[in-house]
């Protein structure tokens, strides 16, 4: 962990119509830090990371990424997104493109890398997530775990400095969760700044620098995994943890 600030959120407020989703969130994330966000559904954890990627607009407060302030206009969103990669629960691969084309599309058209080089780089990335042999397949022909790994390779192809994971394993069969988590652990060890919304507590214990527990749009608890997971200060946290750990 270096001392450089990657993401700075202060006084963030967001409403969906009348519903107050995020209440006064303030958070500083350092470069190369691994953050795991957990909490009951509807607590605003997905909305928080979608705000960081500007997929949702916030109404109050500010988000800066590497000192670059995120304004509610298109240009700043585009700048932010080149630095931030995102993974989704439903993978959201492009079904009409092959695995390889999914990965090379961004580099070729946005980073303006020559096609041959983009393909080389993407094959290296696909190899890193363990599925280089599937490069010519279409997303409809591969399994869920493989899809999520393609999604990781696709995000990495844009060489992001920060990766956001929105429940990356919750749509997967149990035996596929591990293959995705392994890739994420590998990524964490390589020094990527990561924010993961996940209920995989093992993962949190193994790699997280800090765990955030959210409830009803607020950050209830934040701290190193041993503290939040083993000795939670708040009743709400221990209740929730009891629930998900009993499974």
């Amino acid at each position: 962990m270096s001392e450089r600030t990657a993401i700075e959120i202060s006084g963030l407020n967001k409403w969906f119509d009348d519903f107050h989703v995020l209440k006064d969130i303030s958070l500083t994330i350092l470069e190369k830090e691994i953050i795991v966000v957990c909490g009951p559904s509807g607590s605003g954890k997905s909305t928080l990371i979608r705000c960081i990627n500007h997929l949702e607009k916030h109404q109050e407060g500010s988000i800066s990424i590497f000192g670059e302030k995120l304004e509610n206009d298109k240009k700043s969103a585009d700048i932010i997104r080149t630095n931030v990669g995102m993974l989704f629960q439903n993978f959201n691969l492009f079904p009409h493109l092959t695995v390889l084309e999914n990965c090379t599309l961004g580099p070729i058209w946005l980073s303006k890398i020559p096609e041959v080089k983009a393909i080389e780089q993407s094959i290296v990335l696909l190899d890193r997530v363990g599925i280089a042999d599937l490069a010519a397949k279409y997303p409809g022909q591969i399994s869920g775990g493989q899809k999520q790994r393609v999604a990781i390779a696709r995000a990495l192809a844009m060489e992001p400095k920060i990766m956001l994971f929105d429940e990356p394993t919750s749509a997967l069969d149990p035996e596929m969760i591990k293959e995705v988590l392994d890739v994420m652990i590998d990524l964490a060890e390589s020094g990527m700044t990561m924010i993961c919304v996940t209920h995989e507590m093992q993962f949190a214990q193994q790699v997280a620098d800090r765990v955030i527990f959210m409830a009803e749009g607020e950050i209830v608890e934040i701290g190193p995994p041993e503290q939040v997971l083993k000795n939670p200060k708040w009743d709400r946290t221990s209740q929730f943890l009891e629930h998900i750990l009993s499974h």
């Binding site: 997929l55 585009d78 997104r81 080149t82 931030v84 995102m86 009409h96 599309l105 058209w109 279409y138």
Partner: protein, 446 residues
Amino acid sequence: MGNQSISKPELLEFIPKPSRLPAVPVDGFIGRLKKHLFSNIWNTLLTVSVFTLLFMLIKPFLDWAIFDAVWSASNRRECLNASPDGACWPGVIQWFNGLIYGRYPNDQQWRINLGFGLGILWLVPLAFKRVEQKILIALSAITLFPFLANFLFLGGSDNQFNYIVACVGLAYLLILYINIGLIYLDRKILGEYLEPLIGRFYQRRAALLGRLLCWLTVTVLLAFLFQNLTLLLVEVDSWGGLFLTLIISGFSIVMALPIGILLALGRRSHMPVFRWLSICTIELVRSVPLITVLFMSVTMLPLFFPNTMELNKLVQVLVAVCVFAGAYMAETVRGGLQGIPPGQFEAAKSVGLGYWYTMAFIILPQALRAMIPNIVTSFISLFKDTTLVSIIGLFDIMLMARNISIDKNWLGLHTEPLIAISILFFIFCYSMSQYSHRLEKKLKNK
């Protein structure tokens, strides 16, 4: 909860049912007939009555159209004398040339054949497996072929620009075919031979420049070769028949898609000006019959242009039909766009793709693929709708067919020409729908 409190149900003994008898094989044509049509009295009765009904319906038509029909005569009187209850085909046969080419001069009709032949040649490479960059071929066909066709069909010698673009197009076609030959012979394509030469002066983009230089050279060569060629001017007024129908429908089918896509994107846009403009265009055009749009284009369109500019009727009709077809296409495309899950937009955004890249690479390919059946349905109905242009006095195939009945030799001959053009329409429309089925199947597993 207490598992002990629930007593386990007693397992029943498994008693296998006796095996079913093997199916009796049905052999041959007779066997199948017996099984499907005459299996019992009721089915036999149904079969017999349905076949009787069909026979009663079809026999009179076949009698009229084939068995009692007259195939050679010089006028309708002779037809009626030979067989009063049969069809009189000689009228259609004599006018067949007119049905196809309209009033285009007979000795110039090779230009139409050549033009359509070139058009087909242009599209044939799209079916070859080893040809690359098919989008470029399709784009060139859309943008360059109209000039080439216009040069051939219209003739005259006062339009220099058209002549040059026609040469550019012809050069493209020529190079395309030479390159296809070279590819199948596993040789380098034409442009690549120039690459080292250009590479000496300008290293970057040598491949692209090589191709462009090659294209330019062939264009200049062609332009000099055909320098003295002057085609007889055939005014648009004498274009007609199936030829004109194909021009109008072909042009509007090609233009409907881009217009439709732009209108559909406009309608979903967050920018109020574009959104309202698109909504107004779509709703206005969709709520007015095509005939009205055609009449308006003929009477109103000239008001928007300076007095000195003379618009020909064909251009006015093309504008009208394109806008009309575009508005319908817009709603079809919008339907496709709505079927795309929002996750695709989010994924594209998170990769960093902007609006146009997202639309061009992610959303439209999926939306259009899903909408192929609807798009082709619109194309087919558009193809048939173009017969309406006969009402504003263009001699398309419909008007030519009706003209037969006012020819003094064939006065009152209405039915036979209509049947003849129905067959022509069926051939075109059915092949379009078959093509769309094949396209769907081909894209299905992707």
